[in-house]
Amino acid sequence: MSFDKTLLNPKRTPLAESSWVTPDSGCRHTNGAEQHPLPNAFWTHADEQRPGVPSTAPGPIATEPNVPPVRTIVLDRTPTPVRPVGERVAVRPVHSPGGPERLRLEEVSISYGQKHAVKSVSLSIHQGEVLALIGPSGCGKTSLLRTLNRLTELTPSAARNGRILLDGEDVDELEDTKLRARVAMVFQQPNPFPMSIFDNVAFALREQSRKRPGRRELQPLVIDALERAGLYEEVREDLDGPALRLSGGQQQRLCIARAIAPRPEVLLMDEPCSALDPISTNTIEQLIGELRRELAVVIVTHNLAQARRVADKVAFMYLGDLVEYGTTEQVFGEPRATRTRDYVRGTFG
């Protein structure tokens, strides 16, 4: 289980993490049977059964014949239990270790014809941290994200100014294919290719040269990518099965596996969970927490609670301007700008 590695990471201090729990991202389980007897951080395995707590909670009411069963909305009542919401902080370091800077944006502006989508944004993105771009619809956060791997260039009317540096190199001077292998992206809608699971991941790894690596050489890399995306255990029997037969959450994790297979330095995520159910969302949020150790993650999200759960840094954008940038605690706890405060408190947006 890949979660182990996270917890064995010496940089992390698991017990301190429970102090990070904020009232709304913390324990959501209100029925007594679900209450946790031990501190959250002791739970290392997502699929481990907690002693004395059945994964399905058949209350005494459910066994009585004439009374309709009371449906308790408990997230971990699925056949494959995932870590409950309150425990997801266990994989989260207290604060970003402050890895090396990966991406630097200098005065980046994006316009579509006359419309200015992003106005002079400067940001710095470090390895080992998750940057969440938040803001109301149309504020330019997706445009900003898509310009980081120059995907905006596919839109004929889009124009970009300013500099984006990937490890000190101007991305405009990199070949777009090379850049995109280093700055990978996961989209809002799971978009696996209509081919087998193996080929989906292998496709990302194959060079566009005449000499293409064979299946034998690719197999370990593909399996490794699937493992890092937390999907391998579920698909190991069926690597040659069609990817489109997977569930939505599995498809999205396959897309993540595909994106991280070539070992990119930055992973861009455009609302990766907005098309998914809560359980899949949880799994992917866990995954983001783990992936952060090896790469910088930039995630666009509409979901403020999600930004709060997964992000180390938060950038709030409004009408193309970068209004506020800071640590998650600061942006949500004591926002400097009024706009930000109104947004994170739900006054508008």
């Binding site: 791997n149 995907l151 596919l154 777009d176 294919t177 090379k178 850049l179 995109r180 292998a181 280093r182 990978a184 992206m185 989209f187 809608q189 978009n191 696996p192 290719f193 209509p194 081919m195 087998s196 699971i197 080929d199 292998a202 496709f203 990302a204 566009q208 064979g214 299946r215 040659d240 099965g241 069609p242 990817a243 489109l244 037969r245 897309c255 595909r258 994106a259 070539p262």
Partner: protein, 310 residues
Amino acid sequence: MRTWRWRDRLVLAGAWIAGLGLCTIAAAIVLYMGYRGVQYLRPGLIFESPQVSQSQAGSGGFLDPLEGTALLALIGITIALPLALCAAVWIVEYGRPSWLARVVESSIEVVAGTPDIVIAIFGLAIFQMSLLAPFSVRASGGGVFGRSFIAAGAMMSLIALPPLFVATRNGLQSTPVHMREAAFALGKTRIATIRRVLLPGVRSDIATGVTLGVSRIIGDTAIILLLLGGTARLEPQGSVPIFNLLRGTGSTLTSYVYGNSPAGEGLAPQKAYAAAVVLLAFVLGLNLLVDFIGRRQASASGLAVGSAIV
């Protein structure tokens, strides 16, 4: 409301009659041809070459026309497939400048709308040029005769191209944009995206197009009559093994039916019926195949069967 309902019923009745009428016509064609053809059809006909004979009994079978049909379909599709794929990919994936894209699309529509006899006579004009003499039969005097499998096949590719193009273009157009974005975001070039993601994804559309194209080729008569030389047997020209066949003349099922029917020489109408029923069976079979491919695709929509691209 009553009048509306009455009209509604009338239209409904009209639709019913039209539908049933078409079914009846189709059934009549198939049943009549089956009745006339099957009584003369015997397995030997398929394995015998045509013979020159005054009597119907001695005129042999239609092995050569069958081979000619297959050969022409092969040549036509071999030429049309890359052209149609390239045109469709260009239109959908590049399509700039847009006026040129419009011109290309209308050109293909013009080709699709051109009567085959016009295509045939145009082909004759082209292949009679002395530049293209090596590709066709020479008359005994040395003049370019302009008739051969190559000449007919080249023109047949124009017959097969529009359905192939349309099927591929529609398939590509219905491929969601996010499929392309996903490939680009993985650092793939446009060509790699087209080759490894888009074209494999529209394989069933291409298969539909090929099948439609083949069924149009094997059903065509005008091009055969003008460009295939009108010899009942395959007549190779020259000594180069395969090329001599392509340079040579021959016949197909359609020209065989024409030749043996009362409209042609009229020597063997029974053979004509037998060949016609075989031709009909082929075309119907191909149409069923198109139907099957479409159905399989529909049932697998969103769940397209995965392909190994290794």
